[in-house]
């Protein structure tokens, strides 16, 4: 370590000490719980906001599943929640599209990006690298409040008279640009774009902070190859976000221009509602390129943190080092790199140059290689372990299952020739819900159960955790596995009902089953919500380091203090995966424990 760096560290430590000693003054409610700079509180803010959004999005999915399972049947509950959009309890086609759109938007951006990265990057980065807080607490605070504002605007858009955005979560123009085409493209869409812009600001502020923190604030001894895989995942995720979200911002900005200021970036040759529009020269395909240039890395922005959390949880609970630590880092990097050159596989049938299609097929299928490496490494980590099936471990192993199941169908969708016939069918819905939706949410649940003691100093109820997991994985597969068959039968996604096609009549019982499992799955999340809030207040007090884990966050006292550690931050002497190392006293060796004389560092 160079002299300058050492100085930097000493300086930072002193800074932390100061804060700690200053800490005795009373913090006001506002500075402690609302406009807080503290990474632990901000992480809780992200988590609870995302949970509220998640409940909204989940309710929406049960609403449209009611319509899809029993098309045209009256459900009074729909009228209760949706009022004029479900007259007599029957969902209207416009509202169906709005629900599908907002469900997707909330889940992808607010729950699995804001919620997942926001919660765990904030909680774990300072704790696991041995820092007092984020590099910039103020930026971190802004990141949360922009996120909150963006959630707020998105929720407001649900109450607009002409309805919320309903052009699908990908908001392809011209549909999203022309209120004549669909009522949701009026004020609802404007608010959607405002909300997303705020979200992008939040994401960028957060991501820059994460990157700077990981790069600069690691404690002495915490080299990049001693970082827990969680931190690697968060770091790479943040880099992906910084590189790709601005492109979405550009795309959204141009769409705002087209909608409000008469430009023609995406619009051309349109005749609608009895009028030929003035727009010429634009291309709707341009939007798709810009959107998916973000959209595909976004998939990994969602997935990588989940994989990182899973690596940590699996290794800890299998009481074994994660297998192939460096290969895991390598595959994260390769996946991240590839994620920028595969976006075209969302656009195989837009009439793109066939040669380009071949290139995207090639790059897309390559993603399977690092993904396979990750799966095999997880399996090998389980092999000859001593596995503690905590609720977190169950969700982590569940992720391995969904990651395999959903990842494999990606080989079909990524193949341009095969994509032609399954593009935009339920096969796609099945694929991305399993590989990205379920896997990411499983990773998130694993994280919540595992680090709940770190967040609240209490344990979540394990029995409810078990029930929650088994009910969830059964409903995930009950909902999404049959959808593959719907897709192979040619059922397009985003259809309000399949009743207009006698062709699809025989598939109705599949839809009934899917909807039933969806409702079951939603109820199962009630168990989690109850457990979460009950445990915050009534859960049994956690012991120090309840999972006997190696990473630094467990060396800090369970009580949350400003600056995390009361004294000096423990130095790091080893990698985080010395579980079950022969010759050691216990089956775990915290990173802060110095090497024994003659001990060999293995990895």
């Amino acid at each position: 370590m160079s002299h300058a760096e050492t100085l930097e560290h000493e300086h930072h430590d002193d800074h932390g000490h100061d804060h700690f000693h200053d800490d005795h003054h009373k913090e006001s409610f506002i500075s402690k719980y609302v406009f807080t700079h503290d990474h632990k509180m901000i992480s809780k803010q992200f988590l609870i906001t995302a949970m509220v959004m998640g409940v909204v999005a989940m309710l929406m999915s049960t609403f449209f599943r009611l319509q899809l399972g029993w098309p045209g049947k009256a459900f009074p509950i729909l009228e209760t929640f949706l009022g004029k959009w479900a007259p007599g309890g029957v969902l209207s086609p416009d509202m169906y599209l709005a629900l599908v759109t907002i469900h997707g938007t909330i889940m992808v951006f607010f729950v699995l990006t804001g919620g997942l990265s926001g919660t765990f990057s904030n909680l774990l980065i300072p704790y696991q690298i041995g820092a007092r807080d984020m590099a910039s607490g103020f930026m971190n605070m802004l990141s949360y409040w922009f996120f909150f504002a963006s959630c707020f605007v998105m929720m407001i858009s649900l109450y607009v008279e002409s309805g919320p955005a309903s052009a699908g979560w990908t908001v392809y123009p011209p549909l999203s640009a022309l209120p004549q085409a669909i009522p949701g493209s009026g004020l609802g869409m404007t608010l959607w774009l405002v909300s997303m812009s705020l979200f992008i600001v939040s994401s960028l502020l957060g991501s820059l902070n994460y990157i700077v923190t990981v790069v600069n604030l690691r404690i002495k001894g915490m080299s990049m190859t001693r970082l827990p895989l969680t931190i690697w995942a968060f770091l790479v995720t943040a880099i992906l976000g910084v590189l790709s979200f601005p492109v979405l911002f550009a795309a959204a900005l141009l769409l705002i221009f087209d909608r409000s200021f008469g430009t023609s970036f995406y619009l051309s040759d349109i005749y609608i509602s009895g009028h030929a529009l003035e727009h010429t020269g634009g291309s709707p395909i341009l939007f798709q390129h810009l959107f998916w240039f973000l959209g595909h890395p976004e998939v990994y922005i969602v997935l990588l943190p989940a994989l990182g959390l899973t690596s940590e949880v699996i290794s800890t609970n299998a009481r074994k080092p994660i297998f192939g630590y460096k290969a895991m880092i390598g595959s994260i990097l390769v996946i991240a790199f590839l994620s920028f050159i595969v976006w075209g596989h969302h656009m195989f049938i837009t009439g793109m140059n066939p040669f380009l299609g071949s290139v995207f097929t090639f790059t897309t299928l390559l993603v399977a290689i690092p993904s396979a490496v990750k799966v095999f490494n997880y399996l090998t980590t389980l092999w000859k372990g001593n596995i503690h099936f905590t609720p977190a471990m169950l969700f982590a192993t569940g992720l391995v299952s969904t990651f395999i199941t959903g990842g494999l169908t990606g080989i079909i969708l990524g193949d341009s020739a095969l994509d032609i016939n399954v593009h935009d069918t339920y096969f796609v819905v099945a694929h991305f819900h399993i590989v990205m939706g379920a896997s990411a949410i499983f990773g998130m649940f694993a994280g919540v159960y595992h680090w709940f003691p770190r967040m609240y100093g209490r344990m979540m109820n394990k029995q409810l955790g078990f029930v929650h997991f088994w009910a969830t994985i059964v409903s995930v597969y009950g909902v999404f596995f049959p959808m593959h068959f719907l897709g192979l039968a040619g059922v397009p996604r985003r259809y309000y009902a399949n009743t207009e096609f006698p062709l699809f009549d025989s598939l109705q019982d599949i839809n009934v089953m899917v909807s039933t499992f969806a409702i079951l799955g939603a109820l199962a999340q009630g168990i989690f919500l109850f457990n979460f809030f009950y445990s915050i207040f009534r859960g049994s007090k956690s012991v120090d380091n309840p999972w006997r884990s190696n990473t630094l966050e467990w060396t800090a006292p369970m009580e949350h203090i400003h600056g995390n550690w009361p004294g000096a931050i423990p130095e790091v002497h080893r990698w985080p995966y010395d579980y079950g190392k022969p010759g050691m006293d216990e089956d775990f060796v915290p990173q802060s424990m110095p090497m024994k004389p003659g001990e060999v560092e293995i990895h």
Partner: protein
């Protein structure tokens, strides 16, 4: 109803709270922490993993057994057969990987749950193993990529010059087909020319437009002959999805997109093959396009070449449709009909001999 719902939620939460309280108290009586992990928890969950695994595999099998005959029937197009082969190869491959990896997952979960005195293997790294499972997937995927791209190239090779052109014109929420006519050239069209009954905006002054034939409600294509579809949209993006032919292409305003294929099974034959009298080929809209997206369809009929010629000849050309005087004289029209069919026959023979040369 709503009160009932709220009441259920409140009672549910209350009941769960009581349940947890009872569990906590009984744990305290036993001198334990209710949430501390016990080895028996891991054992139980490991057993459930195995049960789940069995149920999962059975569910897979059950679905394949019950849903196999509900899937799309055999491909009705030439390239579709190749697509289906590629699909089957890929599907078999991923199913095998799916089963193998899941068997490992369930087996390891069951075999290695925590036990007193169970020794773990400190196994952090093995270049050999890692090399194996990097190289093997690479080889397998490389062959899939090559196979896939070859198939894609066959499908996307531009259609031969003389392939009959059919325009599929999309708008909220219906489809119109336009046949290029004798000259096999579509007349120019523009969204600015849309007016009254000319809802495709065809340029009346373009000589190529005169023999174009506009068809609504259903359109026909001949079996065994290539057809070259050209797609347009007048308002927003739609997608022309013809699942039985393994064909799909987006219709983008301001752009022309194409897809060509050779239908191989007539509608009549497919009715027999599927043992379904009501079977029809369909074109569905498969890109979200508004409230009636779920009902934007048009019927496709695959005819024998003779039936097709007859059907097409019965349709009026754009010029005929645009000449209102002809339409106002129904008597003359019906008189000509009889003659027409004989005329058409010689006509089609003439075309056939021309193409042979």
């Amino acid at each position: 109803m709503n009160w009932l719902l709220i009441l259920t939620i409140i009672l549910g939460v209350a009941a769960l709270s009581r349940l947890l309280k009872v569990m906590e108290l009984s744990a305290i009586l036993r001198g334990e922490d209710v949430n501390a992990m016990k080895d028996s928890d891991s054992k139980n969950n490991a057993l459930i993993w195995v049960l789940f695994g069995g149920a999962f595999f059975y569910f897979f099998y059950w679905q394949v057994k019950n849903y196999a005959d509900k899937l799309l029937p055999i491909s009705a197009s030439e390239h579709g057969v190749e697509t289906d082969n590629l699909f089957m190869v890929t599907l078999v491959l991923i199913t095998v990987v799916f089963f193998i990896t899941h068997v490992f997952l369930f087996y390891f979960a069951y075999k290695y749950f925590v036990k007193k005195g169970q020794k773990t293997e400190f196994f952090a790294h093995s270049t050999k193993l890692e090399l194996v499972w990097t190289v093997v997937p690479t080889i397998v995927l490389t062959s899939l990529i090559v196979y896939g791209i070859q198939t894609w190239n066959t499908i996307t090779t531009p259609a031969p010059e003389d392939t009959p052109v059919i325009e599929l014109y999309a708008k909220q929420f219906d489809w119109t087909a336009r046949y290029a006519g004798k000259d096999n050239k579509l007349g120019n069209s523009s969204f600015r020319l849309i007016e009254g009954s000319n809802d495709l905006g065809i340029d009346v002054n373009d000589p190529h437009a005169a023999d174009d034939k506009i068809v609504r409600g259903e359109f026909h294509i001949p079996v065994g002959k290539p057809v070259n579809f050209v797609f347009h949209s007048r308002d927003i993006i739609h997608s022309a999805y013809m699942p039985h032919f393994r064909a799909q292409m987006n219709c983008v305003p301001g752009m022309t997109t194409r897809f060509h294929f050779v239908p191989t099974i007539t509608t009549a034959e497919m009715k027999e093959k599927t043992k379904n009298e009501n079977f029809d080929y369909l074109l569905l809209c498969n890109k979200i396009c508004g409230a009636s997206h779920y009902n934007m369809q048009i019927k496709i009929v695959v005819d024998t070449p003779e039936e097709y010629e007859k059907w097409l000849n019965d349709k009026k050309t754009f010029a005929e449709q645009n000449a209102p005087k002809v339409e106002e004289a129904p008597k003359l029209d019906s008189l000509v009909m009889g003659l027409d069919s004989t005329l058409n026959k010689t006509d089609s023979l003439a075309t056939a001999s021309v193409t042979k040369k």
